[in-house]
């Protein structure tokens, strides 16, 4: 359904467009940062206030994927690209069962025009109970976060909380350091991914899926569907298991491999997963992405540290040190593995970020295990690193 007709405040399509210029000018919504900075705007999502870590994402497309990526749990996401909502929300591009970001911060919110759109972003946010603030000078916010680091913020749209109170709440909030959010977003029950294959073949990947001749257990620390799609497209049947599943239970599944998913917040807080991975290493071929990558590093005795403002976007150049080739990658993380903490006799750094030389990929020298900090499944972002799923398949087959 095409839904370009302007929508009234009721959300219903109307012939005569009505505009809420006055409401926008009133600027009743605001974002308060823990240091007392206030950014003003108006509300275009659900009528509720939220706490969260404020991060910026530089991707120019992909808000639907970003909002439904469980890794954004606990975060208020500011989009640096100013025109947002242009393509609405569709059925195919969700990255999980629901919206996970705590809130959305944008400069401009638009009505959609796209042949796949089924509803506007604004409607979707409202229906999902997630607030959004529009009209923010997102560049000013980004420069602030870049120079001063990730902030704790309180997004106030209801008018029920004053500025001072909002700042206080942001300041008093514990933030994401030391927090295990994986447990919050993980599936509660194990499940087979996409038994009939219909989600893995959504637009435009209409080719038939290969028969699934391998199986993998995937720890769900906040897994994105596109990882599951990519694995399935490699002929791998996926059993998604909750974050807390024990190593023993994993082994009992008798899969050909183990996948460690992406996820939100601080990897060091997910101690049970680190322990499980340590005991599974060498017993199953392992691939990890993002949080999964950090957990693999931690399981091997490495350390993670917080980046000043994280990497969130679709344009990070990563060099594969084994081939010398550069891939443009999709990234979303606030923590990173400290390269000096990794045991050099066991681990090899395979990928680095060309912007800041941070670790982007590691490989175990003896056991069949590798991981990347970035998102080879993209969604959103370029597909340059998609070969890694084939590499995982090889690891399991060989």
């Amino acid at each position: 359904m095409k839904s370009f007709a302007p929508q009234g405040r009721s959300g219903k399509t109307v012939e005569e467009p009505s505009y809420d210029w006055g409401e926008r000018r009133a600027g009743k919504a605001f974002l308060a940062l823990h240091d007392g900075t206030i950014f003003r705007g108006w509300s275009a999502g659900a009528d509720c206030d939220r706490l969260g870590e404020v991060v910026f994402n530089t991707g120019m497309t992909g808000y639907e994927e970003i909002l439904t990526d469980p890794s954004y749990s606990g975060q208020l996401v500011a989009m640096t690209y100013p025109e947002i909502g242009n393509t609405g929300i569709n059925h195919d591009d969700h990255e999980s069962r629901q919206l996970f970001a705590e809130g959305l911060i944008v400069h401009q919110m638009n009505q959609p025009s796209n042949w796949r759109s089924v509803r506007s972003l604004s409607d979707y946010l409202r229906a999902s109970g997630v607030p959004a603030i529009v009209g923010v000078d997102t560049r000013a916010l980004t420069v602030k976060l870049r120079t001063e680091g990730t902030a704790r913020g309180y997004l106030a749209v209801t008018g029920r909380v004053g500025e001072d109170e909002a700042v206080r709440r942001a300041r008093d909030w514990c933030g994401l350091d030391g927090q295990d959010y994986a447990a919050r977003v993980s599936a509660e029950q194990a499940f087979e991914w996409d038994g009939d294959g219909h989600i893995s073949t959504t637009w435009p990947d209409q080719d038939r899926l290969p028969a699934a001749d391998l199986t993998v257990a995937a720890y769900d620390f906040g897994i994105k569907w596109n990882i599951l799609r990519r694995l399935r497209q490699q002929g791998i049947a996926v059993r998604v298991v909750p974050a807390g599943t024990s190593a023993k239970d994993i082994l009992e599944l008798e899969t050909d491999g183990l996948f460690l998913s992406n996820g939100p917040a601080d990897p060091a807080a997910v101690t049970y997963a680190i322990d499980n991975i340590r005991s599974l290493l060498g017993r199953l071929p392992i691939m990890g992405i993002c949080l999964g990558h950090q957990l693999l590093g931690l399981a091997l005795g490495g350390r993670t540290y917080r980046l000043k403002f994280g990497h969130h976007g679709c344009n990070h150049p990563v060099k594969d040190l084994t081939t010398g080739k550069v891939e443009i990658t999709s990234q979303n993380h606030n923590f990173s593995l400290d390269p000096d903490s990794l045991p050099p006799d066991e681990m090899e750094i395979t990928h680095i970020n060309l912007n800041d030389d941070t670790v982007e990929g590691i490989r175990h020298r003896k056991c069949p295990a590798f991981s990347v900090q970035y998102h080879p499944e993209a969604a959103p972002g370029p597909h340059d690193a998609g070969y890694l799923f084939a590499r995982f398949r090889e690891l399991m087959s060989g």
Binding site: F4, R25, T80, D92, D137
Partner: protein
């Protein structure tokens, strides 16, 4: 891996003159490439025939050849220079085609020249429709269904196979879609096929399924030899498929694609790059997307840097051309630094946090009779780009940058023409892509038409229309403030209007106030724009390059220094009469003043130019050139002075208002610049100095005009006051024509009278460029026009040194020029136009500012006049700078204009006082005739060395033609002539074959043209209005690309050249550096290191 060290000397090809479809974007890319290659220690040999380019400045290459871009000439240069490599991917389609020809003729192989940037096979695969199609099929990409044809019957058959009309016709290997088009029926089809076959150098056309109305996207990519690929920028066309992308309004980044859809384009574009095999440079790939189903088809790819690359480069800050040159010599993307962030490599994809809008600039008013509907054949002559935080702001800024008298998206008091259209007319206009369509859309929304209705008519994506609809409605919100006081009382509303991109002029109109009042009210409440950085990374990293745009927001990233600053105002979009020459002057000012220790601040809105390159000046503001925008920058930066005399009419129009607002305009005072345009002032000046001018008068009515004309005698030259490029300027031979002109052609009023001058028939026209500092006046050069007076100086060929004028006349011209410079208190450049008849020197016009000929003169004499002028304006004297005497040169330089008639079928091709050329070339030689011939060759009208020539001259020219015709015959040409001309020739003993006049019977010249039996036409127009015969003939000649000489003086020069060529056998080439060795002057340009 480092750069290649097996290469030492690299030859770079420019794109030649500015033509429609190929403008100064290739000066930008070529200049970047020259800088970049020399930085790496390579010896650069540059060839370009266009003197108005920065790249042909002698300091940008080791050897600079301003020579015609033809295979023979390039062959000569290669023989002489023996380069190791040829880099053709930065000089547009021209350079690419030449490289292919050099390869085909075995020149590259013979001299062991390696083609770098793109290999021959790659270019062939990308450019040959059939090979491209096969390549796309191999990688599973969809294309519009198509068939190739080499003849009309073949084409008809192909069309039947494809199904219904419309179909698209694309000739192979042409520029900007020349000769192509959309056919809606059989007649149109035949016509387009015939012209397409004509234009294609290999007589091949592609007939294609129509995807008209689909969404159009373009991706700019770079790939290195290690297969690293990045997408620099995505561009979405506001106009749907069916309008040439050069004629479309476009935005960056793409707005209406989800990430999945965008990545699908990206995957496809990468696959195209890999399959075609571009592995050391930039390319672009165009796509069409069905808005209903999302079906994706590939339209085409360019295996080279293009117009879109320049746009993408300016839109993102990513230096495509510079990096392309580095990739061509072996670097990989990860080895190159991003200058803007300094800490990140060039191997990344820019993220932008603003919206960029490009709007093309047209010149249909210049080509009466041509169709203004936009099609797949490019017709725009320039473009403007603007940057805003949101689409509305970006679009409104772009509209006010366009210099078409509009101040935004309507609401500026100039919409009556659209508002008074009937519904039916409006609907028809909406459905017809045209230059004014945005304003028609506004009119439709103001009438309350629904978005669906406007979408159905225009096929513009609803996303864009939604924003336009909101803007149209918002006008009432502004009006609801009642008056300016009301708006001031509601700062949030005021701010919202500015965020939506409304200019002070629009607010003034909506609230019936003056612009000044709006600005003052706005400043009073502290509502000022802030400046954002163009940083390639959406603020993720700190940027080190001060490249700014204005917006209304909270963060101002402009951090002015405390140095002494000079602001240089650029020329805005290219149009006829205002082109790259003015940008050249601006760039020179930036270079000279930067070297002299000033901080230079450039303001311009033209993405094609060198001036808008981020490292041309210390600080770049990509902004509209309007009072509001310029004043803000001036004050924010706290500039010491502003240069307005280099950017052509655009900044000059602002000068008075800027000065009124306390801006320090350096150089000749704007009052004197303006005064020179004032007829009364001019006449009194001429009288005061005891000079001659043609008898003249000012008329406000048709009656007055007739009275004046009859008093001074016909023929008269008539024109409106205050025009650029001789707009609506004509020579009138009789009363009825004059009366018609006064009624039909111009709007006349008391305030805008018409100027009437006695037209000096058969006079020689002269241009002089000089420099003055208040003490010293130095003549740059005296240029003698080849065409007789009556042809706009921008359209006529001219020579340095003068070809026929004697010393006494030249001395008179010199003393007149000095007197004028003194009287007008010129500080900087001045151009004077004279007419010489019977040794009498008449002054026609004086312009105390940079003229179109400054780059030509600078290159001819080897002195950078614009640099010196900028320094003079900043306070240096010519004595200090070491330039005190006119130079005499030992070689000849001829400038020739390049005309776009081929793009405007139906318009007359004869030269008139109204300027029509888009660009210029320069011929250099030690022989005057050869220099002229080279200029003709460079302008694309190569006079064949043998064969048939057709002559038809008017009675006035008959005596003069005899001797020339005799020489032509002696050179071995066979002369055909109309009966009258043939008779005169025969009587004088020159052999000539008579033909019928076109209207009298056959065989006539049209038969000869059609059979390609004639290679050169000499036709001097008879009298005021061309006969139908002549029109038809000239039209056909243009369509068949046959050189046509329209003046006796032109014929004279050509014959002299042909005779010299016959003596020499072939063209000789020589670099600018070598010529200048003989006419050197020791300038002392200040160099104050900072």
């Amino acid at each position: 891996m480092p750069k290649r060290d097996d290469l030492k000397k690299i030859m770079l090809l420019g794109s030649g003159p500015i033509v429609i479809g190929q403008a100064c974007e290739f000066d930008y890319s070529g200049t970047q490439a020259c800088k970049s290659l020399r930085e790496e220690g390579y010896e650069v040999v540059l060839v370009n025939s266009n003197p108005a380019t920065i790249m042909t400045d002698p300091e940008f290459a080791d050897r600079t050849y301003i020579e015609p871009l033809t295979v023979d000439i390039l062959h000569e240069i290669i023989r002489r220079e023996r380069p190791d490599a040829l880099l053709p991917t930065l000089g547009g389609q021209t350079a690419l085609n030449l490289a292919m020809e050099l390869d085909e003729q075995g020149v590259l192989e013979r001299y062991k020249v390696e083609m770098i940037g793109a290999k021959v096979e790659v270019i062939r695969k990308a450019e040959d429709r059939d090979l491209f199609k096969q390549a796309m099929q191999r990688i599973g990409l969809d294309l519009p269904q198509s068939r190739i044809a080499h003849s009309l019957p073949e084409a008809r058959q192909a069309r039947r196979e494809l199904g219904d009309f419309p179909v698209v016709v694309r000739p192979a290997f042409t520029l900007g879609g020349s000769g192509g088009g959309i056919a809606y029926n059989q007649d149109q089809f035949s016509e387009i096929i015939e012209s397409g076959l004509q234009y294609s150098p290999i007589s091949e056309v592609l007939i294609e399924e129509s995807v008209i109305g689909w969404k159009e996207f373009e991706l700019e990519l770079m790939r290195d030899r290690k297969d690293n690929v990045v997408v620099v920028c995505s561009i979405e066309n506001v106009d749907a498929m069916g309008v040439h992308t050069g004629d479309s309004i476009t935005v960056a980044p793409a707005q209406t694609l989800t990430d999945r859809e965008y990545q699908r384009l990206r995957d496809a574009a990468l696959a195209v790059m890999r399959e075609i095999g571009v592995d050391t440079g930039g390319s672009n790939v165009q796509f069409a997307v069905d808005p209903k189903s999302g079906r994706l088809v590939v339209i085409e790819m360019n295996p080279r840097v293009s117009r879109s690359s320049a746009l993408a480069s300016k839109a993102t800050g990513f230096a495509i051309a510079k990096f392309a040159a580095k990739l061509a010599v072996g670097y990989t993307l990860d080895e190159i630094d991003n200058d803007i962030t300094r800490e990140t490599p060039a191997c990344f994809e820019p993220a932008i946090d603003y919206v960029v809008t490009k709007i093309p600039r047209f010149a249909f008013e210049k080509f009466a009779g041509s169709d203004s509907t936009l099609t797949t054949r490019m017709k725009s002559v320039g473009e403007t780009m603007s940057i805003g935080r949101n689409f509305k702001q970006s679009l409104q800024k772009a509209l006010r940058s366009l210099e078409t008298g509009r101040h935004g998206f309507g609401a500026d008091g100039r919409d009556q023409g659209f508002e008074t259209l009937s519904d039916r007319e409006l609907a028809a206009e909406l459905a017809r892509p045209n230059a004014e369509r945005l304003f028609q859309v506004r009119a439709a929304f103001r009438r309350g038409w629904s978005l669906e209705r406007v979408h159905a008519a225009t096929l513009i994506d609803p996303w864009f229309l939604g924003h336009l609809q909101e803007l149209a409605a918002y006008e009432d919100e502004i009006r609801a403030a009642g008056d300016l006081a009301g708006l001031s009382r509601d700062p949030a509303l005021f701010r919202q209007a500015k965020e939506f991109g409304y200019s002070d002029r629009q607010l003034a109109f909506l609230l019936s106030e003056s612009e000044d009042a709006v600005r003052q009210a706005r400043e009073k409440i502290g509502l000022l724009p802030v400046y954002g950085l163009v940083d390639t990374c959406a603020a993720e990293f700190e940027a080190h390059t001060p490249y700014y745009y204005s917006t209304y927001g909270e963060l101002d990233e402009c951090r002015p220094s405390d140095r002494k600053k000079v602001m240089i105002l650029g020329g805005g979009p290219n149009r006829i009469g205002q082109g790259v020459e003015f940008d050249y002057c601006c760039v020179h000012a930036a270079f000279a003043l930067r070297d002299a220790g000033f901080e230079t601040i450039m303001v311009n809105s033209n993405p094609e130019t060198v001036s808008t390159d981020y490292d041309t000046s210390d600080r770049l503001y990509f902004e509209p050139l309007t009072l509001e925008d310029v004043l803000h920058i001036y004050r924010r930066e706290d500039c010491w002075g502003v240069i307005v005399q280099f950017g052509g009419q655009t900044p000059l129009k602002l000068a008075a208002d800027l000065e009124r607002n306390g801006v320090n305009i350096i150089g000749t005072s704007p009052r004197n610049i303006e005064a020179a345009e004032d007829r009364k002032f001019f006449s009194s000046l001429v009288g005061r100095l005891g000079l001659l001018q043609p008898a003249n008068g000012l008329a406000s009515t048709a009656e007055e005009a007739v009275a004046i004309a009859e008093d001074i005698g016909y023929p008269v030259l008539v024109r409106p006051s205050f025009v650029l490029g001789g707009r609506a300027m004509v020579i009138v031979y009789d009363r009825p024509t004059l009366q018609r002109y006064m009624v039909e052609a111009v709007e006349v009023s008391e305030k805008r009278p018409v100027l009437i001058d006695r037209f000096l028939e058969d006079a020689i026209e002269v241009d002089v460029d000089c420099l003055a500092d208040g003490e010293t006046v130095v003549i740059g050069a005296i240029m003698e026009h080849v065409e007789k007076a009556g042809v706009h100086s921008g359209d006529s060929a001219c020579a340095i040194p003068p070809l026929t004028l004697e010393k006494p006349v030249l001395d008179t011209i010199r003393s007149h020029t000095r007197a004028l410079a003194g009287e007008l208190q010129v500080r900087g450049l001045m151009n004077v136009q004279y007419a010489v008849r019977h040794d009498q020197v008449y002054i026609l016009e004086v312009n105390p500012r940079a003229s179109r000929t400054v780059p030509f003169v600078s290159k001819a004499i080897g002195v950078p006049l614009a640099k010196l002028a900028a320094l003079v304006m900043a306070g240096f004297t010519l004595r200090e700078l070491g330039f005190t005497e006119e130079l005499s040169i030992r070689h000849f330089a001829v400038k020739e204009a390049v005309l776009p008639f081929v793009r405007f079928p139906g318009s007359d091709t004869v030269l008139t006082p109204e300027m029509k050329s888009t660009g210029e070339v320069m011929g250099l030689d030690i022989d005057a005739g050869m220099a002229f011939l080279k200029s003709q060759l460079a302008a694309g009208s190569e006079i064949p060395r043998a064969g048939n020539v057709f002559m038809s001259v008017c009675d006035r020219d008959k005596p003069a033609v005899v001797e020339l015709a005799r020489q032509v015959a002696e050179l071995g040409y066979r002369i055909y002539a109309t009966l009258g001309t043939a008779t005169v020739l025969r009587e004088a003993g020159v052999k000539a074959h008579a033909l019928f006049r076109i209207s009298k019977g056959r065989p006539n010249v049209l038969d000869l043209i059609r059979d390609r039996e004639v290679g050169w036409i000499v036709n001097t127009p008879s009298g005021a209005s061309p006969r139908h015969d002549e029109l038809t003939m000239r039209g056909q000649a243009v369509a068949h690309n046959i050189p046509i000489t329209t003046t006796i003086s032109g014929l004279q020069a050509a014959v002299a050249g042909l005779r010299a060529l016959a003596r020499r056998e072939r063209h000789e080439v020589c670099s600018l550096q070598e010529y200048q060795r003989y006419s050197r002057v020791d300038l002392r340009l200040p160099r104050n290191p900072r």
